[in-house]
């Protein structure tokens, strides 16, 4: 066995030397992870710019904005921004960065593998995702512009073509095709993640010794595997309704702008909603679960305490993943569903509060009595917990059909899903970025700028989304381009203005992050130590950035769980997973040298 542990084997594929194979069509999971990250970084600034335009238009509708032919934004253009903001953020940011980005980079390293199980498939996943982004963004540049149906693209609006509005022609078609391509890419990625975790763990890396980040990526991949196929099927049927004259989703007897639609009949728009949300609800967890993994990981590391209730955390994530497939109907309470169905969906939805509360209390239990180190990444992890709680609580309101009927099409829902799915997941991404940046690029992000970035963002997002709850309760509907002239909403204009100003400041502070990120790549403090955060998992046992095959041919062997902090009697306050029991007990290697724990 010792010979195995010392053995040096050829990498599954040798290190490439040419630029194209090294950086463009790379098979290295680390490069692919960074490619995903940059794709998400581009997308998040694109998506954010769209929201900026929307926030300006909402409070100053008369203002002349760029990219609006004629200078004045039409309601349709507003809806196009809304659609593309949602789509790009959900798919190209929240689905790619936490899972495909960081998961790709760190899952193989954290389980002691030298790459993903299927490197070629991995490369294909990224480039397929890239193509889907290009196809989607192309919707802006075709006749009629981007689609106006929202990120859920309900038929009949999404199925009838140009007749129902600009953007519903070529733009909507590109949107569906882009999304279908994205589904295929995500399926390939999910297969790779699960297989790698099942079959390529290092010796001693049992399931219950896996870092919670790995558990989160694994469960997320399972959700993706089961959900994206359903969305792909729905996209195929919707595309046929648009292009081949079928009637899967379009009912008969529709009248659109004084024209009777005669070429469709009998279809069920509700069917699309079921298919979409069967995917769409797990998608929420696809976005947030990796953040939960990162938050757990960082809270333990920077509290210098073992995670409180490791197994409970694993089972809670598994429960959330499972229950996530049973609650899609809560997005459809106002579709006219049977109250009995609504009751079932409501009960199941509220039961997700149980594993969510288990996670939250375990996070608090981890912090309790810890020697907390307030690094920027720790601040973002704490921010994640905060946002998860405040975003999650409003979910309990919306889970009740009677309340949802009133709040469904208001800003209350906008507030809810932005806090829980959007911003919490983004905080998970930021936490992961500040934490792993030195490992990925060999330099630190600037902590000072990082902390300013954290506080501006943290306070900023609360200033944006907390008041939206009040807008919703006051009856302010969402998705409208301009309601400034509406009498009963006039008293809410100052609130909307406040939200917009908060949004400008928050968006502006993201430029701090962008500057920090780009500047630190070349000018940041060098991460000379392998393990600057004094963490325990395998990625901190190798140089920063890691060599091509991660462990330079040496098989890591794992002896213990991932969160061995403050072990009584140990020479250090943390014991890395790969230290032998003798090294861990004495703090000395076999040759008598001090262990660089």
């Amino acid at each position: 066995m010792a010979s195995h542990a010392e053995a040096v084997h050829a990498h599954v594929h040798s290190a490439p030397t040419g630029f194209i194979r090294k950086y463009i069509f790379s098979l290295d999971h680390k490069v692919i992870g960074i490619q995903y990250y940059f794709l998400a970084l581009f997308s998040v600034f694109l998506g954010m710019s769209l929201s900026l335009l929307m926030r300006i238009h909402l409070v100053w509708p008369a203002i002349h904005l760029p990219f609006t032919p004629g200078g004045q934004m039409t309601p349709e253009q507003y809806l196009a921004l809304l659609t593309m903001h949602g789509t790009i953020m959900v798919f190209m940011v929240l689905t790619t960065a936490p899972q495909s980005g960081f998961g790709n980079y760190f899952l193989p390293i954290q389980i002691g593998a030298e790459d993903m199980a299927f490197p070629v498939l991995n490369m294909l996943s990224f480039w397929t995702t890239f193509v889907s982004l290009v196809v989607m963004v192309a919707a802006f540049f075709v006749s009629g512009g981007a689609p106006i149906g929202g990120w859920t693209s309900y038929p009949p609006l999404s199925a009838l073509g140009e007749i129902v509005g600009p953007g519903q022609g070529a733009g909507q078609t590109l949107w569906i095709v882009g999304l279908a391509i994205f589904c295929a890419a995500s399926l390939l990625g999910a297969i790779n993640f699960i297989t790698t975790t099942i079959d390529l763990r290092a010796k001693g890396m049992t399931l219950m010794r896996m870092p919670l980040t790995v558990w989160a990526w694994l469960i997320t991949a399972v959700l993706g595997l089961l959900a994206f196929g359903v969305l792909l099927a729905a996209c195929a049927l919707l595309l046929l309704d648009r292009t081949a004259g079928t009637s899967f989703f379009v009912p008969g007897g529709l009248v659109v702008t004084d024209q009777v639609i005669t070429w469709h009949k009998g279809g069920s728009p509700i069917l699309w909603q079921h298919l979409f949300w069967f995917f769409g609800h797990p998608e929420v967890y696809i976005a947030i679960l990796p953040g939960m993994g990162v938050a757990s990981h960082l809270l333990s590391t920077f509290s210098r305490k073992p995670i409180f209730g490791y197994r409970a955390m694993v089972y809670a994530m598994l429960s959330i993943g499972f229950l996530g497939f049973t609650v899609w109907g809560h997005h459809m309470f106002i579709s006219g569903m049977s109250p009995y169905s609504a009751f079932a969906f409501s009960m199941l939805t509220m039961s997700i509060g149980v594993p969510s509360a288990i996670k939250t209390f375990n996070w608090l239990g981890t912090l309790w009595g810890g020697q907390i180190r307030f690094t920027t990444s720790m601040l973002f992890a704490l921010g994640f917990v905060s946002l998860f709680v405040s975003g999650g609580l409003s979910g309990l309101f919306l889970a009740q059909p009677a309340i949802d009927l009133a709040l469904h099409d208001t800003y209350f829902v906008v507030a809810h899903f932005h806090l829980i799915m959007g911003v919490a997941a983004i905080f998970g991404i930021f936490a992961a970025t500040y934490f792993w940046f030195p490992k990925m690029f060999g330099r630190f992000l600037n902590e000072g700028i990082g902390k300013v970035h954290f506080w501006l963002t943290f306070i900023g997002v609360y200033c944006i989304f907390m008041p939206m709850h009040f807008l919703g309760i006051a009856g302010h509907p969402r998705r409208y381009a301009d309601l400034t002239g509406v009498q009963y909403l006039s008293s809410l204009i100052p609130v909307q203005r406040f939200i917009s100003i908060a949004a400008f400041i928050t968006i502006g502070s993201q430029l701090l992050f962008l500057f920090n990120f780009l500047w630190s790549l070349w000018g940041g403090k060098k991460a000379t130590e392998m393990n600057p955060w004094e963490a325990t998992t395998l990625e901190w046992s190798i140089p920063s950035p890691p060599p091509f095959d991660n462990f330079a041919g040496h098989v890591p062997t794992v002896y213990r769980g991932p969160y061995e902090f403050a072990v009584p009697g140990a020479p250090h306050d943390y014991i890395p997973q790969n230290l032998t029991p003798a090294e861990a007990a004495t703090g000395l290697t076999a040759s008598g040298a001090p262990v660089k724990a």
């Binding site: 790459d115 099942i198 010796k203 595997l225 069917l271």
Partner: protein
Amino acid sequence: MPGVATTTEEIELQIDPGRGGGAAIRDGGDPGRGDGQSPAYQRASITGITLALGGILMFFLALTSSYIVRRGVTTDWQAFPLPRVLWANTAVLLLSSFTIEMARRALGRGAVAAFRNLWALTSGLGLIFVGGQLLAWRELRAEGVFLSTNPSSSFFYVLTALHGLHLLGGIVALAYVALRSWQGSKVGRATGAEVAAIYWHFMDGLWVFLLLLLTLGR
């Protein structure tokens, strides 16, 4: 964990063998074989195709569910007689599952020539099946049953087309297994053949399921 423990590491691992702790890629191949093949990668190939079939299953279940809902919620559903050639196609596809299994076993015995013949035969049967499906389409077209004629015909075309595409993918996989050089590969032709066969059997079973749906669910 064979042999006698001699180092602390080994003792630790034997005390706590870490249920399921991965054997990982770098366990290398079977040391006695010297062919560079890796059991971990062979396992990963089987895991990978199993997962892929899980994803494909969800895809077709979504379509099945749509079929049932679309048929149930509206009154415009009109059944049409299924082309008889489908039954012949089904027989051909079932036969191909036998031939691919025989091919795989022949490879296991080292009978490479028999493997190649049976493998080619399977691909041929697959092509005949796809051709037969096209004949069924032609027959329907002649009777004026098109994609958008009725939801029942829409689903017929969609299900047969998507299954046919997946089967064509299987034929490409068969060709890949037969034609690629497996020299120096981590998995070897036997594993490649096994993966392709698992996929093929699944496509066979899936077709039987779809046919039952299309006949009994009319």
